[in-house]
């Protein structure tokens, strides 16, 4: 019995020893080594939902990260990407980010995470003083010193939406449907102000828990409100269910709908999305040289269909990080963090510039086509994010 206990104790101790020695790198925040041929290597973490309700974007996010690695290689930087799954759960996100910081010694973390998961991840990144770029934005997070949102803010999106629907389309009565996320409550507040300022009014709103499979009651509310347009911010897989129900309800579908989160449907556009208005920082039909090159690279990499918006947000997150690394002239996480202010990248979606821990960028209004693309019907000038963060 004593021998067994001793053996068990030795095995447990050996396990912890191996776990503690796991991962590579020499010190916190300094994940650089020379890659083959002497090109600098940046070790970064990439956290997203590979499971759970937010996993709809995982495949295209991963493809975008691979494209970003290839583009980085062409500009002389080797990216060593440590991937993690937050399972759309804050507790898991915290563990994953902690491991990336403490064991893998990444110099930055790029995330495609919901607010709660991103906030949990920040427990690790803020302590290590490394940049955390969240490709879904920073809407519900507020101003955090090391966090940068790489997606449109509510101010940018709702201003564009309100101007388009109220002033250009003449739709004065707007109904809002959204997933119950902190960002969406901010979106509704800002949309209300923007619509009122444009001369319209919000005639009703409805929130559904993330993971909903039935929007019947929401559609009933839309119809009984007398709305002449619906603005929806239904996230993840829920957006497909919502728009499917919307399109098959003949009375509801007669009301113009504009979706703020571009639905992820894989390679082919589902028929029920045809004609849906969308507001996004990117569509594949954006007309510029960088996009033409990017689309060719995307297809050459074997990706079916066009790159979706979330892929561009991941791509730009990586490119902005590389810009900061090159500006810092150092591969230490804290130095890269200090160089994040004002970095800019001109790519397939136009020019994005860091501004108050978010990005100044142009937005596009598109209309979904039958062939899986969206025709761009309006392009804005680069819009300020509307965030005010000191430092």
């Amino acid at each position: 019995m004593q021998r067994r206990s001793a053996l068990a104790a030795v095995l447990v101790a050996a396990f912890f020893l191996v776990a503690a020695c796991g991962g590579s790198g020499s010190g916190a925040g300094a994940g650089t080594a020379s890659g083959s041929g002497g090109s600098p290597t940046l070790k970064i973490g990439f956290v997203q939902a590979l499971s759970g309700p937010g996993a709809a974007y995982a495949q295209t996010n991963s493809a975008a990260m691979k494209a970003a690695q290839a583009m980085a290689q062409q500009s002389g930087v080797t990216l060593d990407v440590v991937a993690g799954d937050d399972a759309t759960d804050p507790a898991t996100a915290a563990q994953v980010c902690q491991r990336m910081v403490q064991q893998d010694h990444v110099v930055a973390i790029i995330g495609y995470e919901q607010d709660a998961a991103a906030s949990a991840c920040n427990q690790a990144t803020s302590g290590a003083k490394i940049p955390q770029l969240n490709a879904t934005g920073v809407g519900g997070l507020g101003c955090i010193a090391n966090v940068y949102g790489m997606a449109p803010t509510p101010t940018q999106s709702v201003g564009t939406v309100a101007d388009y629907l109220v002033k250009e389309e003449g739709k004065k009565k707007i109904f809002f449907v959204g997933s119950d996320l902190p960002t969406n409550h901010s979106v509704l507040d800002e949309l209300t102000s923007a619509v009122n300022a444009a001369g319209g009014q919000i005639v009703g709103s409805s929130f559904e828990p993330f993971g909903s499979t039935d929007f019947t009651n929401d559609l009933t509310r839309v119809k009984s409100s007398g709305a002449d347009a619906v603005v929806s911010a239904v996230a993840g897989n829920d957006s497909l269910v919502f728009h499917k129900q919307y399109a098959t309800d003949p009375t509801a579908s007669a009301i113009e709908a504009l979706e703020m989160y571009v639905p992820a449907v894989g390679s082919d556009s589902a028929s029920y999305l045809n004609g849906l208005h969308l507001v996004a920082p990117y569509f594949a039909s954006v007309d510029n040289d960088a996009n033409t090159t990017f689309l060719a690279d995307w297809k050459a990499a074997g990706q079916a269909g066009n790159p979706p918006t979330n892929a561009i947000e991941v791509l730009y997150s990586v490119q902005m990080l590389i810009q900061a690394y090159q500006a810092a002239g150092s591969s230490t996480g804290s130095d890269i963090l200090a160089a994040m202010a004002g970095v800019s990248y001109d790519g397939p979606a136009g020019t994005w510039t860091e501004d108050n821990h978010s990005v100044k960028l142009p937005l596009y209004i598109g209309q979904d086509d039958k062939d899986g693309t969206a025709t761009v019907i309006k392009t804005t000038d680069p819009l300020a994010p509307g965030t005010t963060c000191a430092g």
Partner: protein, 279 residues
Amino acid sequence: MNVLVGAIGSTGTIMLTVLGLGLILGLLNIINLAQAGMMAIGVYLTVDLVGSGWSFWLAVPVATVATGLVGAVIEYAVVRRVYRRPLDAILATWGLSLVIVECIQLHDGSAPKDLDPPISGGFSLGDSYLPTYRVALLALGLVLVLVLGLIQRYTTLGLRVRMVMSNPALASGCGINTTQVRQWTFIVGSALSGLAGALLGPISSISPDYAQAALIPAFLVVLLAGNLLRGLVIASVLLSAVQTLFSVYVSPLYASVVVIAVALVLLRVRPHGISRAAA
């Protein structure tokens, strides 16, 4: 009218979801946490078959049978060993659900899939719209409950199942192969789960963690139902009505919480369920 339409829609989906679960939990006393995984197998097989050009109505029965076969393998390899160990059964079936999700993700990826409803059109009732397909799901759910009830009540097979459920030792002493009865019960339960998954695909988003969100309400319905099949219908209607009432008049955000609260109160009042056969 809004409440009626909403309740009709959600009763059908809940009833289909709980059939397989109720069979396995009610008859085998196994909390099958692989229920959502079975539903996912059913819907992904249907998606693949329809994508290959099969008719939806042909793909569904094939997917149902295939899920039953998967259930047969799982029963033989795993579940058979934990019939008398409920806690181990929970762990085992939970592990199976994780394996199923990962296998689906490896085979089909994480991007959502889509199935068009095989029946189009619907009924406008005031400001509400009830798709014909949802009415069909409710009707199908009721028919399945009726058929299962008739089998259980009036056939030799049903008699054997009830004997094994009531007193396995005595049933075995009477010459009934209890292992075979349990095996077929699990297979049929798995097939029903696959059927539910396939039928609910056109009105749901299809991803590797398909139907995970439906597990908790489904377990509540099964616990509330008691040991009679009509209890499944009553419990499904009751919880759907509560959920819809709160969604319409208060907020969808609190509806799930209220459903759980109501279920807890009912279980406190009737711990053995709504409907229970006399001892």
